[in-house]
Symmetry: C2
Subunit: 768 residues, 2 copies
């Protein structure tokens, strides 16, 4: 059963009523972040019920010792783990002699709201303590976009049936552990604890990686909204610092603590400056004040939404879903730091160590490219460019030579972080996504210069990989690629995965194409690259021989490409015939049964058709969709969006809508029964694509042209989305009866219905 | 580089000269055991150099928490580990003020001998202590075959250049750990420490499994071979008990400690009786005395060799090799306890948790069957029969129904202990070996009654498995078996592995055949089995439909069966073209590279041809051998023996001899650079087969007839072996010129050269 407790609302995620069973799910859903840091929606006060505590700092990781069943050559020794960082949000609350703990109170009027328009999280409730005191609590917190090392909390308590003592005990606790640790190790070393008046900080460093982090807090108080001073008591323990402030308060009055927190790390400061920088941050934040910080937060989000919002009329759950996806994507990655990337759980959980998967290139780049400045997508590409040496090293470990690169399946710093051979060593299609990301970026932005400056080196290394990885089959008289895992991870170690072979061929051809263009148009860069990579013309002829003679498994009778060799030896039976009790199969079936079944985890052949739709006729798309979609169980969060987009492209709007709903509310409705572990961040970009590329039919073609083909699900009145296309803002509006285009000023753009061309403000042609 | 320090000798394994680098290898090679308990050849005295301490008790294991990269449904939660047991051999030695520790002494005249004829281990050396004292030490120890809970040590010290004090500190240490522990846990709980005069014991239990074990010692002393009494000092620590005995001794005199040890476990005693039983054992052993115990040990081994020995003339290394293999097999398993089995490392190491692999049925049964009473092989079959319920449970976990059984890949108590999906879930050919073991036993012993009494239930459950595991391929219009790993583990998750498909078909057909025989000849058993298994005739028709329409990958051009679908898409290149620096490939190549290569770890198609040689013409055997042998890297200890036997069967004696040498001295010469981890016990049975079935050409046919076809490598003068065939002892002698057969009394058996028939004493026909 999916969860169904989030209150539908256009701009907010809302939970009403306290239910201990939902605490961990809500901690994921109500997470906040600013691209540089983030955290799960843990309570500020103590909570003795089930909770998954998590605060995270972008780029700070721990190389946990890997755990394997049987060691294989080439496995990484270490597995970069997203690292739970010192807790800065904690505020112990004591009423007279009793600690506030929602797990032991009678709780009423509980409400939680994540306001996505303005970027803050609030919580309010009435708690009756075991000792009888009743209090009303209201909290609000956010992590600042503008001051991206700072977060702020306002925590207000009002006694409802008594007058008495209230103690606030704000603390920093660096004695935190990871939920996800292979050997239950402690990952941090505490270096210094610095108490000051109404301020405090802890300097700690991660073991092994030696990232240094200072975590600071500053506090102030109001009573009935007027500033007050309260004497501070200090408790310093081995790994934490806690202050205690006690005041007397009368029934009906309010007491508020403002807590400002900051993380500063050695990624951005020298180790020696860290404590000072952290103190400076919280001191300034306190000076600016909670309300002013909040106002700037609202401004920041207003600015983000300007080019990112999607409006859906007539379906509030769909509206909430898409905004939640866009909101979380922005909380996870802002695009200003090429050392960061988009972890599959963002700042909402720890599962899947490492931060970067092929999801970034295959799913996320289109979103960031179309909703932000082109520099953001470029930073994502530069992330891989900067890790090219490590990708070459990685390929060398697997026996490749001559500068061939294999990008890691999962990484934090360019090193491989995954250790299942069928993925780590065999899910090599990821290498193709690296080139596809570049191709996509260049088509969208027309920034071809990225290729001579950076992209081509990556492409050459990858073409070399494909050339070496294929082998000639005497039996088939073709080049084959043996022993791979495709995007459909419910097949392992298969031969001639269509998607992989197709990407390999395409990568080589696109690389040679770009080489020729660079040779003619950027001769200096060409010279530099050829010297650096020691590339000779003969080598490229060898690549092309492989590309031109690549084998693709094909069934003549069904007239379709097969997912891999031997696919039709399986018992072919559609997913709708599977008993409900067998699903999801990855929780019910043993792995061998999944592998030999025909069931597909996520788009595989269809992923190829999605990437290269322009190479397939509509008939071909339909034939493949009709064969593969019914076999697909969509047990990857990355699956429904691709199916939604392809369904829309062949005018199957009911299917497109069904898959859209699944992707857009995957976490809000907890389709996969795992939202307590964190949200599926990267697939949220797929949700965005489902509207913009799926319903909106947006395409950017090889020649750089942009086209739309908007359709609308019958369930909606209208929808609109906005994209930043080469510096111009275009808004697309589609209702059941109309389709309109607007520029940044809100003026409708002229649309020539006959030849489907519109003029966008920068005078570039747009065909519709 | 292989090791080369073992001195060739017909009956003994001998090491001369002390080399710290060989200590761990020698600890494996000089291991002793009696089928019920065993131990590595650790020194009695303290040793501060590298050492791998190991004492083991048959059937006592620990369910260590599994360690996996990524959990999959169906994986076992626990992994049964061979358990290092409390140390009973330890004797600290102190000379005046200095501890004896060979790592800090100047050692000369060091000699170690494992006397295989008589079953004891000795060691002698002269040590010059850092403080200048020089002593000569002689030790001898054995684990009694007759008193199978008892071991004994004689440890003699003679001062060479001084008169002074000598202290003996015999101890029991239950504070031992496993080399192989997933999370470095301690596996034992100490329950009681019982000191008595010149005796002591510790009662401990294994955590989780709660096996109770009492470990006892008793000591006595002689000086110049005359009994003496020495006052005892007692030291009891948390997990150990140590006595100290100090005497004054003059230059040239000797002092000897005799230490008797015993393990008794809750497998054979009630928990309450354990301490008493252990004390009784050591008290009685002390009364019998070291020399008498040793005499009975010599008798026991004489008796074993009578039906097990193989004599090779003209090649002392080959002689030593084969006796070492036979000796270790007997040390590992005596066949008296159907709860025990043959662990791949026996009592020589801990690697590969669990004790039972398909090695038992595929390799070991022929050895035990032919060198011991038929009850021994039957006990090995009953081991599986007794675990049938667990095998059915195991199959249920993987989605099989209706009493289908999948025997575990690795087990201690019937539960699966392996956790790599490609092995655990997919290396299902092991199920066929269970039936092959029964078939082999029935042919050899003619004890068909085993089938109605026990075997048939196992066979029905396995036939059900194969029926369910195959599926109909529309594309091939045949039944296929997808997603398996064959014996060649350098291929994972392949389709239509020839060996697996062949075994599946054969298992079904043999089962139906036996069902029919039981129906006619054992109607009561038939009735009972049909009721118990709820088997209907229609179900067997469905099995047969699968068997009759089983698909086998075949290449018409080469006229050979293919190892699996698509094998010829690989680059086919023989092993001799691989650079030495790339071998062994499992230590040099990443797993994906191994998988997509054509290189074969161990016999796969050839394993099938070996099992069912009677179904293949000599031409067919040759064609398959010539295709697959050159691709085989023999990186499994189980590989060379099969190739040796097949080579002999097609008259390729040089190849047969080459592979024989490899298998027979695998550990003595440390071909795989891993003997320090323990010896390869199960493959030793393959060595025995290489002579008896390979060179000797012994075959037992479906109709029960026994034939020989002896050949001899040109390197040898002669060889002879002895088998116990249905109660009759037959000795086969083959020299370069002659071939003779003898009965138990040493009389030559009449041999009719023309029709190749000999009469064996029990009047059964034997064709030669």
């Amino acid at each position: 059963m999916n969860k169904n407790y989030i209150i539908p609302n256009e701009w907010s995620i809302i939970e009403e009523g306290f239910c201990a069973e939902n605490v961990e799910a809500s901690e994921s859903l109500f997470s906040i972040g600013n691209g540089a840091m983030g955290q799960r929606a843990n309570f500020e006060e103590d909570y003795s019920g089930n909770t998954f505590q998590g605060s995270y700092i972008g780029g700070i990781y721990y190389p946990d010792k890997t755990r394997v069943g049987w060691w294989k050559n080439g496995y990484p020794e270490y597995f970069a783990k997203v690292l739970n960082a010192p807790n800065w949000i904690g505020i112990g609350i004591q009423i007279n002699t009793t600690k506030l703990d929602l797990n032991t109170c009678k709780v009423s009027n509980f409400k939680r709201e994540l306001n996505m328009k303005e970027g803050w999280l609030s919580r309010s409730f009435v708690a009756k303590l075991p000792t009888g005191e009743q209090i009303e609590v209201c909290t609000k917190r956010f992590i600042s976009i503008k001051y991206n090392e700072v977060g702020a909390i306002a925590y207000t308590v009002k006694p409802l049936n008594f007058s008495g003592e209230i103690s606030f005990s704000p603390y920093i606790d660096a004695g935190i552990v990871n939920e996800d640790a292979n050997y239950d190790e402690f990952f941090w070393e505490i270096l210094q604890i610095s108490p000051e008046e109404n301020k405090g900080a802890i300097l700690s460093k991660t073991l092994k990686t030696e990232f240094h982090v200072a975590t600071a807090m500053a506090v102030s108080f109001t009573s009935n909204e007027k500033p007050i001073e309260i004497p501070q008591q200090t408790l310093i323990e081995e790994k934490s610092i806690t202050y205690s402030y006690t005041l007397n308060i009368s029934e009906g009055e309010t007491a508020t603590i403002y807590k400002y927190g900051s993380y500063v790390s050695s990624l951005n400061h020298s180790n020696e400056e860290l404590l000072d920088a952290a103190f400076k941050n919280v001191t300034e934040a306190k000076q600016i004040g909670f309300q002013q910080l909040l106002n700037s937060q609202i401004d920041s989000w207003k600015n983000i939404w300007k080019t990112a919002d999607i409006v859906i009329e007539g379906d509030v759950k769909a509206q909430q879903g898409i905004r939640f996806n866009i909101f979380q994507l922005n909380q996870t990655y802002m695009g200003t730091d090429a050392r960061l990337n988009i972890g599959p759980k963002g700042f909402t959980g720890e599962k899947y160590g490492g931060s970067t998967y092929w999801d970034t290139e295959a799913y996320c780049i289109p979103f960031y490219m179309a909703t932000k400045d082109a520099s953001v997508a470029k930073n994502l590409l530069l992330y891989r460019y900067n890790q090219l040496d490590k990708a070459i090293e990685n390929a060398e470990k697997l026996g490749f030579t001559n500068g061939a690169a294999l990008y890691p399946m999962v990484t934090m710093n360019g090193e491989e972080c995954h250790n299942e051979w069928e993925i780590t060593f065999e899910e090599i299609h990821r290498n193709g996504a690296m080139v596809y990301g570049i191709y996509n970026y260049v088509n969208y932005t027309q920034d071809f210069e990225y290729i001579p400056k950076n992209g081509l080196e990556v492409m050459i290394a990858i073409a070399r990989f494909w050339h070496q990885r294929a082998n000639f089959s005497e039996a088939k008289n073709k080049y084959v690629i043996l022993g791979v895992t495709g995007p459909n991870e419910y097949e392992n170690n298969v031969n001639n995965n269509f998607y992989t072979n197709y990407l390999a061929k395409w990568c080589i051809e696109y690389t040679v194409d770009c080489l020729n263009k660079v040779k003619h148009n950027y001769p200096d860069d060409f010279e530099r690259i050829i010297n650096k990579t020691n590339l000779k013309a003969e080598e490229t002829y060898k690549w092309l021989k492989v590309a031109e003679n690549m084998y693709f498994p094909f069934d003549a009778e069904k007239n379709i490409y097969l997912q891999q060799d031997g696919f039709l030896d399986k018992e072919i039976s559609s997913v709708d015939k599977l008993p409900i009790s067998d699903r999801p199969i990855n929780q019910k079936w043993s792995w061998d049964r999944i592998l030999r079944s025909c069931y597909i985890k996520q788009a595989d052949v269809l992923q190829g058709i999605f990437f290269f739709e322009n190479k397939f006729s509509k008939d071909e798309v339909e034939r493949h969709f009709d064969f593969y979609e019914p076999l697909t169980v969509h047990e990857s969060s990355l699956s429904p969006c691709v199916h939604s987009i392809l369904a829309a492209s062949i005018d199957r709007m009911p299917k497109a809508y069904e898959q859209y709903v699944r992707t857009s509310r995957l976490d809000l409705d907890d389709y996969n029964h795992e939202v307590h572990e964190g949200c599926h961040i990267t697939s949220m970009a797929g949700t965005w694509m489902s509207i913009v590329q799926g319903f909106g039919g947006m395409r950017v073609w090889d020649d750089g042209k942009l086209t739309f083909n908007p359709q609308i699900p019958k369930e909606w009145k209208s929808y609109s989305f906005t994209i930043n296309f080469r510096g111009s803002i275009i808004k697309v509006y589609k209702s059941q009866t109309a389709c309109k285009f607007f520029n940044e000023s809100g003026n409708e753009i002229k649309m020539l219905v006959n030849n489907n061309e519109i003029l966008i403000p920068s005078n570039q042609l747009v065909t519709v």
